[in-house]
């Protein structure tokens, strides 16, 4: 299978910045996978995300989305339709004052037939569990609900890739759970490729692949099971380790022999039980 996104040695420096935000990043993302991108503030995560749908075009190197070069202006709309992008602040990405009208915004821009727009809007709202709120005013929804509307607004373009730039940073625990559950379902059940940028380790634990960025470079790349046991490396990069890993490394230091790849609380509990018996 060909990668849906192919990044070849890209670099990017913001105007007025004294060091590059991205510095020689190469990366292939396979269709249908769930990738989490970690890194402290200023590591280049958001800059990388903005290269995935041609908001930014690399100064050096190339980005291909489904074979299309993002530097080619002619591909712009096709790439944006293919790679949906959701941002941190749900308030600042909702255009209309009725939920369903907002979700219709993108397909309307694309000139889709009215009947087909209706179908896509309904389907998108259902797939994030917001269908019954279709007639609501966005400002009366909770943060998690707004963010799900924003995801639906992107899904209505029928994209193959969903890029989410810290979508849960402004949400409470309930909102975070709602959003992450919706994203996971889209990936696992509808085969949408997900790239999730986050500060929350418990969200990254659910991904197929974890990338850690530092100073514009990819410094760690692997499955969560490969990445998270590297406590020392993560701490050096100003990141925390998931609490499950922290617990198991404490127990192992005291002489237990737990597998370090039990990352979710349930897996961790099961591993502890097994070791105790």
């Amino acid at each position: 299978m060909d990668p849906i996104i192919r990044i070849k040695n890209i670099s990017y420096t913001y105007p007025d910045a004294d060091r590059p935000a991205l510095d020689g990043v190469s990366l292939d993302i396979m269709p249908g996978t769930f990738t989490a991108v970690l890194g402290s503030n200023g590591s280049g995560k958001s800059t990388l995300a903005k290269h995935l749908n041609a908001i930014l075009v690399p100064a050096g190197g190339k980005v291909f989305v489904d074979g299309m070069d993002t530097a080619d202006e002619g591909n712009l709309l096709a790439i944006r339709r293919q790679v949906g992008m959701v941002f941190q602040n749900p308030d600042n990405q909702i255009v209309a004052n009725v939920v369903e009208d907002d979700v219709a915004f993108a397909p309307e821009n694309l000139g889709v037939e009215p009947k087909e727009i209706r179908r896509r809007v309904d389907e998108a709202l259902k797939s994030v569990g917001m269908y019954e709120f279709r007639m609501h005013a966005p400002h009366l929804l909770s943060g998690g609900q707004k963010q799900r509307v924003a995801i639906a607004g992107v899904l209505a373009m029928d994209p193959d890739v969903l890029v989410l730039d810290e979508p849960t940073a402004m949400l409470d625990p309930r909102g975070r759970r709602e959003v992450i559950a919706a994203v996971e379902t889209l990936c696992r059940e509808r085969g949408i490729t997900v790239v999730l940028i986050t500060h929350h380790m418990d969200e990254a634990v659910r991904a197929d692949r974890v990338l850690v960025l530092d100073k514009g470079r990819i410094v760690l790349d692997g499955t969560p099971q490969q990445i998270f046991p590297q406590t020392a490396a993560l701490q050096a990069l100003r990141l925390t380790v998931p609490d499950t890993v922290a617990l198991m490394s404490r127990l192992n230091a005291a002489g237990m022999d737990l597998p370090m790849d039990a990352l979710t609380p349930a897996e961790c509990a099961a591993a502890i039980l097994e070791a105790l018996q």
Binding site: N41, S142, P173, D202, D243, T244, R250, L276
Partner: protein, 287 residues
Amino acid sequence: MSLIELRDLTHIYSQGTPFEKVAIDSLSLSIEAGQTVGLIGHTGSGKSTLISHLNALLKPSSGTVLLDGEDIFASKAAIRAARFRVGVVFQYPEYQLFEETVFADIAYGPKNLKLDNAEIDRRVREAAAFVGLDAGQFDRSPLELSGGQKRRAAIAGVLAMEPDVLVLDEPTAGLDPAGREDLLGRLFRWREVRGATIILVTHDMSIANRCDRLVVMSEGKIVLDGTPEAVFAHGEQLVSIGLDLPAAAHIAKLLRDQGLDLPAGIYTLDRLAEAILALRGKGASPC
């Protein structure tokens, strides 16, 4: 006498309109001087409305707010006094920055206190040092700072008023893990040095479990109140009102559900590790 006492506080928004909403529902609460209180609850539980009463920004629909036993709404002077004694840092405080320089912005509160220039200067420098903002940044525009630095400058603006009670609404929201740890550490150190009272409003359980006392709100009422140990023993109730458990409490609950004999109220990884290792010792001995 408690430092802060809320008696039968009720707050209703848009009273008398179809949009009427009871945000706080006959709530009573006392807070002693020197405590670090975590106020937790999901969005819309009434915690933000509650803190706006502590410095007299919102007037209760009914009930009283006492500061050192005095009604803070008794007179205009009392309202003003409450506003200076209780410092509130709202969510995303970086959006309040407006002065031309970082120094002037931190000095805004002390200036409103009508302090002399030497005192203002001392307070600004001290507050900036507490939050880890170095003096080299003083002459820059607040807009040129990084996100994390803006947050620090905004918090310093409230610390410089040297309040007896510091209320912070989600002070670490949106920061990266290292930034979160650093800021929290600095706030706790400020509390120690000043001997002040801190009220932390949060839904981040890794912050909540560092408080002396937790007050859990749901639908305008206090549903749980006690030490973190006592509060986190009610895991299912916390989850049912939309909150998370600290990871340690969550794992402990899963283990208990599987029949493991762990003591109730575990909420830190250290305690959990200890308890598991103790069981291991026991499990090994009968053989």
